[in-house]
Symmetry: C2
Subunit: 213 residues, 2 copies
């Protein structure tokens, strides 16, 4: 499941840095120091410098990072500079919520990276759901997955299916050539080495928080 | 925001190990090796041993970890051995989806840790939502938050409110004494040092995946 030598936590922080820069207004030519960015992100200035140094020299000693340039670089590194089509598989409550949210508000943010992810298709196997319209999109049957993935050049799938069928559904979607997944079912999924599955379920979040009770 | 010296990633892996052990059937007295557990979790055997060694000597050289004992220890470390009350603030689409999901299927899992998190209260400010029933629970007005948090001894809040009001709502909930949050709004929130906010929004997940496109 490793496709790169850059640790996942670094990529996660880069996505956070980008969000922080996008959330705020900066004037043309403004700089941000590693201390300021670290303060916003909740990490040390050294961590910020180390993370960014992995991808190039974006800053100037004693001045900081030119915000506009840094944003562009982060957008480029995270490849959100052109839109990618995504699909939501499983149009239950959570899948519907994401479908409505992401179609209304692509990728949930403003700024240059705002249109980075576009929900292009929804899938389910429930005959009651197939054919219905959710978030302006028609729900397709999972049997049509392969054709639609090719047609729409879908790169990422959000899996919002029940835990007992999640592995089976993942295996099926993997066969269509999609290699990037976010799984929201409370079950750990196995995938081939060249496939990345991020696990993002609420119960895992809760169990982690338990430690800090 | 640091309340412990154990890195968050370790806690996240412990929660994953526990889930993996809960998902499978093990016979009484069965052992699992660090290689087997690592294989399931997608980490090296050395990582498994290092993570678990931080909390005690749970395994036997050359034999592995006694599954039953290891599960108990993980449940104990993650403090999911007794139920904690949680609240969902913001009963929009995502909040409703979580409310229905978590009330139907407490903490989304089976086994000894299954009742670890109980949704005890739902809050919103929308007069249309307040008084409605979602997942078997009545939606309360945010004005009643402080009283309900004390009454129900609520320890964790899931924030599923729109991004523009997320900081304001967090500040308000922090005042009631809740110190653990999962924020699903696509915005980075600031909190006092003794408050932990995990960010778990779908757009951040997507932006991370972009890197692997």
């Amino acid at each position: 499941m490793r496709t790169t030598k850059t640790p996942d936590v670094v990529i996660r922080r880069l996505a956070t840095y980008l969000r922080l820069l996008e959330e705020r207004e900066y004037y043309l030519g403004q700089y941000i120091s590693s201390s300021e960015l670290g303060e916003l992100a909740g990490v040390t200035p050294a961590q910020v410098r180390k993370d960014l140094d992995m991808f190039g020299e974006f800053g100037k000693q004693g001045v900081g990072y030119p915000v506009r340039h840094l944003k562009r670089q982060l957008i480029h590194i995270l490849k959100v500079d052109k839109p990618s089509n995504i699909t939501i598989v499983g149009v239950g409550e959570l899948g519907s919520a994401f479908a409505r949210y992401l179609t209304r508000n692509p990728s949930g943010r403003r700024g240059e990276g705002a249109d980075a992810f576009r929900v292009a298709a929804l899938f389910d196997v429930d005959p009651i759901k197939v054919g219905q319209c959710v978030g302006g999109l028609r729900v397709d049957h999972l049997d049509d997955l392969e054709a639609r993935v090719k047609e729409m050049d879908i790169k990422i799938a959000l899996l919002t299916v029940p835990a007992p069928v999640a592995q089976e559904v993942l295996d099926r979607v993997v066969k269509t050539g999609i290699k990037l997944f976010v799984n929201f079912a409370p079950v750990r999924l196995k995938a081939p080495d060249d496939v990345r599955v991020n696990h993002a379920d609420v119960s895992l979040e809760l169990h982690q928080l338990g430690y800090y009770l």
